[in-house]
């Protein structure tokens, strides 16, 4: 895409990165997404809801395609579908995890159908292969000004709500029984968090795509939780990591023409493996 390749001059590189409007949009949206994904992801890992995040992101695929189909913004479609799925999960009344046989079969069935539905929507508006890849694996092209504004509004509102309910949510996540005894509205919090998760997934999908959500929502938080047990530090670290992965991923994708999803997943995965190797007891680095 750019005329010149990257050099060792960081200032010149940043100027190169910012010379096109689409890249400014991608970086703006990416920054908001990474911050929200960092915070929300921390609670996802803490509460063991990564399978729910996975499911919500796959429901987002038909959502995004439907948004394009009716000539609205794909982000709007994502938000509507993901929030709907979160409410549905909440209505079922049970936490979604991969532990129960019938529930995971149910989730599997929903996943297959939602991907099939997304494929239908893409075909209906005559979308190209590139269009499908953009939904599934993310893109740095085609994030419009309206998408950036929506992302900004959603991220701001969600982070504000998370900041407000952060303390009781932490309590409810770590020790639900004691929290109920102390009068914390655990069920309400749980539903509120599912909705926050749905919104986070909806805007994260634009950058990394439906299939690679783990890279931004789960991996930084999982790495942070390995490194520190203190919540404040953990959340901060999770945000910093997801920001770094996103910025580096976007920059690398810009200069190499390789999809951004590949770089973000690879960075996140490499860091997670490195952290596990360093912190795991009896690992290569620290023989028992």
């Amino acid at each position: 895409m750019p005329d010149q390749g990257p050099s060792w001059d960081v200032v010149a590189d940043v100027q190169l990165l910012l010379q096109f409007h689409f890249m400014q949009n991608a970086l703006l949206a990416g920054t908001m997404v990474a911050m929200l994904a960092g915070v929300a992801g921390y609670f996802v890992v803490l509460r063991g809801q990564s399978f729910a995040a996975h499911m919500l992101s796959q429901v987002g695929f038909p959502g995004a395609a439907a948004g394009v189909l009716i000539h609205a913004s794909p982000v709007l479609g994502l938000i509507v579908f993901c929030a709907g799925a979160a409410l549905g999960l909440g209505a079922l009344g049970r936490e979604v995890d991969a532990g129960h046989r019938l529930e995971s079969a149910a989730i599997g069935s929903i996943l297959a159908f939602s991907l099939g539905l997304g494929f239908l929507f893409v075909r209906l508006y005559g979308g190209s292969a590139q269009g499908i890849y953009a939904f599934l694996f993310g893109t740095i092209l085609g994030i419009t000004d309206r998408d950036v504004q929506l992302t900004f509004a959603v991220a701001l509102a969600t982070i504000a709500v998370l900041a407000a309910i952060g303390r009781p949510l932490m309590f409810a996540s770590v020790d639900p029984d004691v929290a109920v005894a102390r009068g914390v509205p655990v069920r309400m919090l749980s539903l509120a968090f599912l909705l926050i998760l749905a919104l986070s997934v909806a805007i994260t999908v634009q950058i990394v795509g439906t299939l690679l959500i783990f890279a931004l929502l789960v991996a930084p938080a999982a790495s942070a939780l390995q490194l520190t047990a203190r919540p404040g530090r953990g959340i901060a670290l999770s945000i910093v990591l997801s920001l770094v992965f996103t910025w580096l991923g976007l920059a690398l994708a810009y200069f190499t023409n390789v999809p951004v999803g590949f770089f973000i997943t690879t960075l996140a995965f490499a860091f997670y493996v490195a952290v596990r190797l360093v912190t795991a007891p009896g690992a290569v680095m620290a023989p028992a």
Binding site: L102, S104, S109, F113, F214, V218, V258
Partner: protein
């Protein structure tokens, strides 16, 4: 015009039927043993493996089979320890998929832009575009899977329902588990052509979930699961012949509708039983 007058429709019915039979049978045990996440993961691996195979100048199918079997053996070697660690597994498979994206972009830039649909057909299947050789390979591996599955069904059922007693009775747990993982891998690999790496659930998990809703008896459940999978594929193909909708969507949609209906039926039976 009859749809069977067309060679590609005949091919789709033969290959789709055989693959669905295998997927329904293997899927019954996937759901019974609570390994849905593994099937999902193998679907991701199939995407990367297939594109990697093509990129390396090999056959797409060779890449799919090799990568799925290798990963299935690795998961089997991890054994029970991998269970419940969905953060670790999810992160690994997001990366595998990310690698697939790299392969895809390398492939599309290496060839003309028109070949960009290869990835889509791996992800969503192209059952109507099967080559005669693919039909033969797909059908034969599927039938072989069914045969092995029938042979090991009884000890595997025992092992899945009551592992401790089964081991005490001398059922070779490790060998049987590894063999089962290989069968899942082969099923995922052969289904990639028909429904694609992402929609594998529709043939492996959904018919099995329906069968579990309708019957608690294992043998009836297995037969139901296999029968429903075949019926869904054939119905989807028939509908696709008359309606201008993608086959993948029709197959997943039919399966999901049946699943909802079976949930409803189960609830009705339960309410009726109480009254």
């Amino acid at each position: 015009m009859s749809m069977f007058a067309l060679e590609f429709m005949r091919n789709a019915f033969i290959a789709g039927g055989c693959i669905a039979l295998a997927a329904g049978l293997v899927g019954y045990f996937v759901v019974l043993r609570n390994q849905v996440f593994t099937a999902d993961a193998l679907g991701h691996v199939a995407f990367t493996g297939g594109l990697g195979g093509v990129l390396a100048g090999l056959n797409l199918l060779a890449g799919v089979f090799a990568s799925c079997i290798a990963v299935a053996l690795a998961i089997g070697a991890l054994g029970g320890r991998a269970r419940g660690r969905d953060v670790a597994i999810g992160t690994v498979f997001a990366w595998v998929l990310g690698l697939g994206v790299l392969f895809l972009s390398l492939y599309t830039t290496a060839r003309s832009a028109a070949s960009g649909t290869l990835g889509v057909s791996v992800l969503f299947g192209s059952i109507l575009g099967l080559q005669p050789a693919q039909v033969i390979v797909g059908s034969l591996t599927a039938l072989a899977t069914v045969a092995v599955m029938i042979v090991i069904a009884r000890p595997l059922l025992f092992l899945s329902i009551d592992p401790e007693v089964a081991v005490a009775r001398g059922v070779p747990a490790r060998a049987l588990t590894s063999l089962f993982f290989i069968l899942v891998a082969v099923t995922v690999a052969e289904s990639v052509q028909a429904v694609g790496a992402l929609l594998i659930f529709a043939l492996i998990v959904t018919p099995a979930a329906i069968a579990q809703n309708l019957s608690t008896r294992p043998w009836a459940g297995m037969a139901l699961s296999a029968g429903i999978a075949v019926a869904v594929v054939w119905l989807g193909l028939t509908l696709a012949f008359y309606v201008a909708l993608p086959v993948s969507f029709l197959i997943t949609g039919l399966a999901f509708a049946l699943y909802l209906a079976s949930n409803f039926a189960r609830r009705m039976v339960r309410v009726g039983g109480l009254a």
